[in-house]
């Protein structure tokens, strides 16, 4: 008799607690990031940034007078798991908005779910260009696309590095292939010859075969699209292999972790990044200080992306004045957000623009900003 009664009381209490938590006291926002799997490291950074944004906002009174409750789910960068996470967040946690899902393939799988339940959905990371072309009115992107990054940087790279023959190496997924294609197109437009295009799989550890081909390709520069783990292994082996050419790339390259992992081999390489922790500006200094205090290391590209995405979403909900989806979408459209890395606005299709991106070079274990450029709005159709 007794255990049963106890169970009932506990059940009732739990029900009450969860009811009150959602109905009155807080504003739930769902976050989907890969917390396990091959990009777990970067997904965790994005989740950290998001957490920091929420903590700061709540310390200043929250949104619409309520504290924001961020509920994080692991999407593992996989479409299936991310959709499950979205369903759970929408149905069980009754979130008013979604942020995520890191990998473009995962994000594109979550988009129809968000549309079905009419939940505003913002990604701060996924860069596959077609996402914002899908005509999903609930979807926004506060990140650069591969093409936007390519066009912003190709001139800088040609001017600063003076390259004539370039080899391209990318991780074998939609992002890696998209980046290689975008940069190849843009650089060819500036008269740079393509001498090699190769891809490798996530989690590869031995790049000697690829590097053998690179050494024999006659390139004077190599473009690499890779994330921290693969990128550091590749660059280390490139230096071991005695290849001496300009290395420049996209991905989370200019982070303290990348430099720690890669060691001396990181010296001199260039990275085209939408964010680096030593961008000039007082706003960025404050962000870097807060982030470093909270997580013991300076923020990288993904930490900033998570931070910006949550701030944009929370500001949109505040502007909307309610948790109504249509009002939040309108709020998102009016975004004019002063980020640590410039001003974010959205095009009619939900593509973010106006923020800064930087070409950095790693020197003496630090990132030197060589040049910055603003990501312009895409011309087509806007």
């Amino acid at each position: 008799m007794r255990p049963l009664a106890l169970t009932r009381i506990m059940l009732a209490a739990t029900a009450l607690l969860s009811l009150s938590a959602h109905a009155q006291d807080s504003l739930p926002i769902g976050l989907i990031q890969p917390l396990t799997g091959s990009v777990a490291y970067n997904g965790t950074a994005a989740a950290h940034g998001a957490e920091l944004a929420v903590k700061q906002r709540n310390a200043n009174g929250g949104v619409l007078g309520k504290p924001v409750e961020m509920i994080t789910e692991d999407g593992q960068c996989s479409p299936a798991d991310s959709v499950n996470a979205a369903e759970k967040l929408i149905q069980r946690d009754e979130v008013v908005a979604l942020v995520g899902a890191f990998c473009s393939s995962a994000t594109s799988a979550v988009m129809p779910v968000a549309q079905k339940y009419k939940i505003p959905f913002l990604t701060g990371v996924s860069s596959e260009a077609s996402l914002t072309e899908a005509g999903n009115p609930y979807f926004f992107r506060s990140a650069e696309t591969d093409a936007l990054l390519g066009s912003a940087f190709s001139k800088l790279i040609v001017d600063n590095l003076g390259l004539e023959k370039v080899a391209y190496i990318g991780v074998n997924d939609d992002w890696g292939r998209g980046s290689v294609k975008a940069f190849e197109q843009e650089l060819s437009g500036h008269g740079v010859e393509t001498v090699m295009t190769e891809y490798f799989n996530h989690g590869s550890s031995d790049f000697y075969t690829l590097l053998t081909k690179l050494r024999n390709s006659g390139a004077d520069g190599v473009f690499v699209a890779a994330e921290t783990q693969d990128g550091s292994t590749l660059v280390k082996q490139l230096k071991q292999f005695g290849i001496d050419m300009d290395v420049f790339g996209v991905g989370s390259w200019a982070t303290s972790d990348f430099i720690d992992l890669t060691g001396d081999a990181a010296e001199g390489i260039y990275a085209a990044v939408p964010y680096v922790s030593n961008l000039p500006g007082e706003r960025n200094e404050r962000f870097v200080k807060d982030y470093t205090e909270a997580y013991g290391q300076a923020p990288g590209k993904y930490g900033a992306a998570g931070y910006n995405a949550l701030n944009i979403m929370m500001a949109a909900i505040e502007r909307a004045g309610s948790s109504d989806a249509e009002a939040i979408v309108d709020g998102l459209k009016q975004t004019d957000y002063e980020a640590p890395n410039g001003r974010y606005r959205f095009t009619a299709k939900g593509q973010g623009y106006g923020f800064q991106a930087a070409l950095v070079q790693i020197q003496n274990g630090k990132t030197d900003v060589v040049a910055t450029t603003a990501i312009a709005a895409p011309d087509a159709g806007n």
């Binding site: 799989n201 075969t209 690829l210």
Partner: protein
Amino acid sequence: MDMLLQFVANGLVSGSFYALSALGLTLIFGLMRVVNFAHGEFYMLGGVLGWFVTTYLGLNFFVGLVVVVVAMAAFGWLVDRFLIERVRDQGEEPSILLTIGLSIFLTNSALLVVGTAPLNIAGAVPNAPVFLGPVVLTQMRLFAVAACAVLILAAYLLIRHTRLGRAMRATFQDPMAARLAGIKTAYVYASTFALGTVLAASSGMLLGSIYSVQVSGGGLISLKAFVVVILGGMGSFAGAIVGGLILGLAEALWGGYVSSGTVDVIGFLIVILTLIFKPYGLFSTQVERA
């Protein structure tokens, strides 16, 4: 020509790494008939422990390796005594489910403890390039290949020339007869499992010092080890070595002359071809076991 030599050198190096990690699996999967999907996680644990003892305890590489070997032998022994023991002789499915569960548990526990960042192990020798004619290798790679050879030889001698080795061979030929002859088969199983775990873990630590240790990277390691074991023949020592080298070479040549984005296809192509044309593998021990 220079390119071909370099590809062959690359293939032989990665092939010898495959061989060492597959050797552990050929004992556990080939002889004990435990379809061990946690093999890649044992490899990963070896790397993580190796990183811990060299970075935090400040041990040098060799002392660290000994510590890892002892710790992982104990771990393998306990896994066998407390987990595998319960599903022994119940067919393959329970052990598949058990080891899949174990692999998920180990990966996520490691993620919880050391986090998602890749870990670097300080190597035993500097990672400086070595030029052999047109071929580039590094000292660390040559060292790792030598270490693989030593470990493989040690395992071979252990199985061929010690009492424990004889007991192992007897047990896997006929457990009933082995028990009647007074062999404590429970200990033999546990020792074999421990040996397999140690081989996986030491290759994890060796390779961790060349590449880096990735906590979530166990799955691919398991798959490649299965490829080598199936190609070489279940439970065969020579099979694991030759199979590993063939896989390494095939991947290097495919990556070099076709495309490096599709190299992981090669392993599975090899498995399909093996199963069609030589279903017991190149060096089958089928007859011995029958």
